[in-house]
Symmetry: C2
Subunit: 660 residues, 2 copies
C-alpha cells in the first residue's frame, strides 16, 4: 500500500467498519453486500476491457452479453430483491453503468404487475419474468416529456373489430428516449391517448409487441431504432418508436384501473392518485443514486489527494500531499459531508415511503401530497448537488481527473441525467413549492399542518437581531435552516399575492414568482436534510467515535450551506455579519479536525476497487504505476505506429521534406 495512504488509515480516529455497518444496516447485511459484490466482481464471465476503450456498439454488445449472464447467474445464486440486486447487478456486475435490460426490470415488469388484470398477468407476466420476452416502457415523446397530457401517440378504439389502432400522427409524437427500446426490446408498455367514438380519454397504458419473436425484425407498421449516441448511457439503447396504424386487440390495454368494454364503454379508475406511489419510490432511489455517485467521486478524489504531492508549501520542504491545502479540503470535504447527508436522507425517505405505503394500502391517501413534495424536493436537490460535486471532485484531481483513468468522467456522464429524468428538477421543485404554498395558506387559516411542514405554522418573519449565537451548535443551525425556509416560503407567498394584486392571473403570478418559489422549496429540502442528518446522530446506538466524526461532518455540511447562502440568513437580520464570519472560521477548524479522518471516511463508503473503476482512486494508492499500464492497454497503443501514419502522415511529411 502507498505509504501516505497507510499513514492516513493508521491515523484515523475511528474504525471505518463501524460506519460501514451504520450505512448498510449492520454486520449481516454488510457481509451479504460484500459477498454479492465480490461474487460479481470476481466472476471471470463479467471481466472485459475498460468500457472507455470501446466504441459505443462494443459497449452495447458487452453490456447485453453481461445482462443475459446476470439473469442466468442471479437465478443460479438465488439473488433476488432490490437490495441484493443493487449489490450484485447494479454495483457489482455493471459498476453502476447502464445496460440494455434496465427498463425491463425497473419499469416493464412493475407496470405489468401494477396495471395488468389477473388475466393479463397470466398471459404476459410469466413470459416477461422469465425473459421469454423483453420489454420497456414507452412514454416520453420527442416533443413531450413532463406534460403527460401533451402526448400525441393515439390509441383509437374500433368497436367493430374490437381493436385499438395505434398511430403516430407527427414527428413530435415519435416515442423518444425509452431505455432498451432501440435494439433490445420486443415488447413495450405504450402510453397513448385513448380515443373512443372521437372522444379523448387521456393517456392510458397498452401492451404492444413491436418486434417479431422469430427474427427480431420490427413488425409491420412499426418503425423502431436507437436515438443515437448520448453523453453517457452508451450501454443502453434508448430508442425511438413510431406507429403507422398498427392494430392491437382490445385486451392489450392494461385494464386493472381504467377499462374499455367491447362496445366502447369507458370505465373510469377508482382513484387517479395511486400511481404516485411508484413515482415516490423511484425518486427515493434517485436520492440514493445521487448520494452514491457523489460518494464514489469523493472517494476517488480524496484518496488521490493524499497520494498526490504538489508544489512547495515551505521552501526546501518536500511537496505536501494535495489534501493538506486548505483550498483542496474546501473543495472536497463539503461534498464528503453532502454525500453522507444525502445517504441518510435517502434512507429516511425510503422508510417514510414504506410507512406511508402501509397507510396508503389501508386506503388512507392523505399522506401522498406530503410524500410527493418531500421526494420531489430531495430528488432535485440531491441530483443538483451530485452534479456540481462530481465535477468539483474531477477538477480537484487536476489534469488526471480529465482522463478516463480517473473514473470520474464516466460517473458524471452516466449519472448527471438524474437532474432531468423522472421529473425535470425545476419542475419538481415547483411541485414542492405548490405544496408549501398550499400548506402555508392552510396554516394562515389556522389549519394543522402535516409533519414535514408543521414548522411553517411558526413563521417568525420579524427577525431577532443582535443576538449572539453559537453557530457550531447543531440545534442553532437547524433552527437557522428552519427560519430561513419558513421566511422564504412566507416571502414567496407574499410575492405571489403581490403579483396577483398587480393584476396578473394566477398562472402568470405563479410564473412571475417561480424563481422565489424554487428558492423556497430548495431551502425547505435543505432544512430536511440538515435536520435528518442531526437526528440520525442522536440515535443512542451510534458508537461514540463515529458520532464524534459524523457530528463534525454534519456541522460542516450545515455551516457550509450557511456560508454559501449567507445572504439568505443575513437578509432579514436573522444572522449577523459576525455570525457568518464565525461560521467561516468554524469551517476552517472543522476541516482541520476532519483532515486526519478523511480517508477513513471515504473508506467507510465501502466501494471496492472493482466498483470504483478508477486508477486514481485505488484502495492501495499505487496510482502512478497503474496509470501507465492502463494507458498502454488502450486501443491507440496496440501498435507503436498507428495506421494513420502510413495513410496520411508519411506522404505529407515526405513531400514537405522534399520541398525543403
Amino acid at each position: 500500500m502507498n505509504p501516505d495512504l497507510k499513514k492516513e488509515r493508521d491515523g484515523a480516529s475511528f474504525d471505518p467498519e463501524k460506519i460501514v455497518n451504520l450505512l448498510y444496516g449492520g454486520p449481516d447485511r454488510v457481509k451479504r453486500k460484500r459477498k454479492l459484490e465480490s461474487l460479481a466482481l470476481n466472476d471471470p464471465d463479467f471481466q472485459h476491457e475498460d468500457l472507455n476503450f470501446m466504441s459505443r456498439e462494443q459497449q452495447y454488445e458487452t453490456q447485453l452479453k453481461k445482462s443475459i449472464m446476470v439473469v442466468q447467474k442471479q437465478e443460479k445464486h438465488g439473488i433476488m430483491g432490490p437490495e441484493d440486486s443493487a449489490h450484485y447487478v447494479y454495483n457489482g456486475a455493471f459498476k453502476a453503468m447502464a445496460g440494455p435490460f434496465g427498463l425491463h426490470t425497473s419499469m416493464f415488469l412493475p407496470t405489468l404487475r401494477g396495471q395488468a388484470t389477473d388475466e393479463q398477468k397470466d398471459k404476459w407476466l410469466k413470459m416477461a419474468e422469465n425473459y421469454a420476452i423483453i420489454g420497456t416502457y414507452a412514454q416520453t415523446e420527442m416533443g413531450h416529456g413532463t406534460f403527460l397530457r401533451g402526448l400525441e401517440t393515439t390509441a383509437t378504439y374500433d368497436p367493430h373489430t374490437q381493436e385499438f389502432d395505434l398511430h403516430t400522427p407527427t414527428p413530435t409524437g415519435t416515442k423518444w428516449w425509452p431505455g432498451c427500446l432501440g435494439k433490445t426490446s420486443n415488447y413495450c408498455v405504450l402510453m397513448a391517448q385513448l380515443y373512443i367514438h372521437g372522444k379523448s380519454y387521456g393517456p392510458h397504458p397498452f401492451m404492444v409487441q413491436i418486434r417479431s419473436l422469430e427474427d427480431h425484425k420490427p413488425l409491420p407498421g412499426v418503425t423502431v431504432g436507437d436515438i443515437g449516441p448520448k453523453f453517457g448511457y452508451a450501454g443502453n439503447d434508448n430508442g425511438f418508436l413510431r406507429f403507422d396504424h398498427v392494430r392491437i386487440p382490445r385486451d392489450n390495454m392494461l385494464m386493472k384501473y381504467s377499462r374499455v368494454e367491447p362496445d366502447g364503454t369507458y370505465v373510469k379508475p377508482p382513484s387517479s392518485k395511486l400511481a404516485y406511489g411508484t413515482m415516490v419510490q423511484v425518486r427515493s432511489f434517485i436520492v440514493s443514486e445521487a448520494a452514491e455517485s457523489l460518494a464514489k467521486a469523493v472517494t476517488i478524489a480524496t484518496r488521490y489527494s493524499c497520494v498526490r504531492r504538489q508544489s512547495e508549501m515551505k521552501p526546501g520542504h518536500p511537496e505536501p500531499q494535495v489534501l493538506d491545502y486548505v483550498t483542496q479540503q474546501y473543495k472536497l470535504f463539503p461534498y464528503l459531508a453532502a454525500a453522507y447527508a444525502f445517504m441518510f436522507a435517502a434512507r429516511a425517505m425510503v422508510s417514510v415511503y414504506f410507512r406511508s405505503m402501509e397507510r396508503i394500502t389501508r386506503g388512507d391517501i392523505t399522506v401522498l401530497p406530503e410524500l410527493h413534495a418531500l421526494s420531489s424536493g430531495l430528488k432535485s436537490l440531491s441530483s443538483w448537488v451530485m452534479n456540481a460535486g462530481i465535477e468539483e471532485c474531477r477538477m480537484a484531481c487536476g489534469g488526471h481527473g480529465y482522463s478516463h483513468a480517473s473514473g470520474i468522467p464516466s460517473i458524471y456522464a452516466e449519472h448527471t441525467p438524474a437532474a432531468t429524468y423522472e421529473g425535470e428538477n425545476t419542475v419538481l421543485m415547483l411541485q414542492t413549492a405548490r405544496y408549501l404554498m398550499k400548506s402555508y395558506s392552510q396554516s394562515v387559516q389556522g389549519e394543522k399542518l402535516a409533519g414535514s411542514v408543521a414548522y411553517l405554522a411558526g413563521v417568525q418573519p420579524v427577525p431577532v437581531a443582535g443576538r449572539t449565537r453559537d453557530v457550531l451548535d447543531l440545534q442553532v443551525l437547524i433552527e437557522a435552516y428552519q427560519h430561513r425556509a419558513a421566511r422564504l416560503v412566507h416571502e414567496a407567498a407574499l410575492q405571489l399575492r403581490k403579483e396577483q394584486q398587480a393584476g396578473k392571473d394566477q398562472p402568470d403570478a405563479w410564473n412571475a414568482t417561480s424563481v422565489d418559489l424554487v428558492k423556497a422549496a430548495t431551502a425547505h429540502s435543505q432544512y430536511f436534510v440538515v435536520k435528518n442528518f442531526a437526528a440520525r446522530l442522536a440515535d443512542p446506538a451510534v458508537d461514540s467515535s463515529v458520532r464524534a466524526v459524523l457530528t463534525s461532518l454534519c456541522q460542516l455540511h450545515a455551516l457550509h450551506g450557511v456560508v454559501n447562502n449567507s445572504g439568505d440568513f443575513l437578509e432579514d437580520g436573522y444572522m449577523t455579519g459576525t455570525d457568518i464570519r464565525q461560521a467561516r472560521r468554524h469551517i476552517n477548524a472543522l476541516m482541520a479536525k476532519l483532515r486526519p479522518d478523511a480517508v477513513a471516511l471515504v473508506d467507510a463508503f465501502d466501494y471496492p476497487d472493482g466498483i470504483l473503476n478508477s486508477i486514481l482512486g485505488r484502495y492501495d494508492g499505487n496510482v502512478y504505476e497503474h496509470l501507465l499500464e492502463w494507458a498502454k492497454a488502450s486501443p491507440l497503443n496496440k501498435t507503436d505506429v498507428h495506421q494513420s501514419y502510413h495513410k496520411y502522415l508519411k506522404p505529407f511529411l515526405q513531400a514537405n521534406r522534399a520541398k525543403l
Copy 2:
C-alpha cells in the same frame, strides 16, 4: 424557418448585425470571418460523419487527415495570422474540437521562435514551419504539473562527448499529457532538469527527436505512446514519453537565454520574467475560448427554448414556449449576459496585453505582475463560469440536452479542461491573491498602486448603512463590486495577519487564509468584468438600440452576481435586505425586457450551424424533423437487427421460451 423562431427574430428591438460588428471589429472583419468560416464549412474535403458516431481511433484519424489538408489549404488560400486561423481552422474546419497538430502550432513553433538561437532556428524552424517535422512541447509529468521545479526528467551534461544524457528516473517522471505526442509528433521541446558536474540548474528546454523520420518508430531508448481515452479531446493524442539514457548533442539545448558552454560552464539568462508574456497571452485566449464555448451553449439552449413547447401554463391554452417560463429565463439569461461580459473582458485583456508588450519590449517589465494577476484571475473566473454555464444550458434543454444531437455534451467535454490546464484555477486565483495582498500592503504603506488595483487604496471598511440606492444604476453596481472586492481583500489581509499573530509561519498562515484569498481574488476579477462591460457600453460609437439591450444585459449580469453572492454585500451592512429584494425584482423585470431580444442576442454571436454542430440549436429551428434523421444515421441503426441479437439475445430468448 420554424414560425416561433421567425416571430422571435421579427420582434427583436435591434438589428443583430450591429452587435456582430461590435463583437468582431466592424463589417470588414465580419465579412472576412464569414468568408473563412464558410470556406472551411463548405469544403467537401472537410465533411465527415458526426464525430460522436466514431470510435476514438476513428476520431483521431479523421482529425489527422483534416489537419494535413488544413495546412495545405491554408497555404493555398493565403490564410495566416491568429485571427484568420481562428475562423478558418479552429471554428471552421475543427468546430473547436481538438486535432493532432494543435501543439505544433500553439507551443512547438512559438517555443522554437522564442527560445532557439539564430543558428538553431536555421536548423529546425524552417523544417517545423514547413511540416517536414511535427513537434510538441513536453513539460508536464505524471506526478508533476503546476510545480515546474518538481520535474524529474533529467538532462545531464557530459563534457567529454559534449552531449546531454536524457533520463526518466521514476514512474512519476514520465512525461504525461503533452498534446499530439502519443502518435503524431516526431520531435518535441522537452523540459528537463539540467545537471552539470552533479549540480542542478533547474528546468531547461531541449530539442529532442523522438521518432524515426523513416518509419516513425520510437528511437532507441525512447518509450512513447498515447495516454488513453479522456472525457473529451479524442482527436488529440495526448501522450506519454520516457527516456532511458538517450543522448543528444549539446546544441540541442535551446540556448537563446541560458547556455551551456562545451566545457560545461553554465551561462545564466538575463531575466527570468520574459516567459510570463506567453503565459499571459495563452490565458487571454482561454478567456476568449470560455466566452465562446459558453456563447455556443447559450445559443443552442436559447433557440431550442423558443422551439420547444411544454406543459400547460393556463388551462386550455396551448403549451407555451419553454423560454416563457421565468425559471428558464433565470437559467439562461444570466449566462447569456456572462458570455457577453467575458467576450468583452477577453478583448480588453488582449488589448491590455498588446499595450503592455510594447512596454515590455522597451525593457519595462514593471507591468508584468499586474498583467499576470489580471490574466490569472480572469482565466479562472471565466472557465469556472463557462463550466457551470454550459451544463446549466444542457440541462435547460431537458432530456434532449443529454443527447449528442444537442451538441452541448461535446462542447462541455472539450472545453472543461480550461479549468485545470495552463495553470489550475485555484492555484492561479491564489497567484492573483498574492498580488492583491502585496498591493494592499503597499497601499497601507502609502505607495501608489497600479491601474487595476488602484481602488484598493480607497478601502472603506466602515460601511455606510441605511442608504437607499438605485441598484439598477450601473455606477452604483460598479461601486458595490468595488467595495466588496476591496473589503474582501482587506479582510483577507487582516485574517492573514491574525493567523501569523497566532503563531503560524507565513506559509501556514497563507494556507489557513487561502479560502478567503480565493474569494477576494474572485471578487476582484468579477469587479473588473462588470466595470469593463459597462465601460464598453459607454463608447459613443455604440449604436443606441444596441446600447439599450446590452445595458439591460450588463445590469442583469451585475445584479445576478449581487443576488447570487448577496451575503458578500450584506455582511458588512454595505447593502440592505431591501437592496437585495429590489435587486431580485429588477432581475425579473430585466428578464421580461430581454425576453423578446433573446434570440437576436444569441444570433448576434454569429455561429453558423456548421460550427454549432447541434440539431437543437439549428438556426432554422427545424429541430424535430432533423433529430430522427440524425439518429437514423448513427451506427447502431445501420441494420434493423443488431448483430448482437444473433450472438446473444436470440439463443437466450429461445431457451427461455422453451422452458415455459
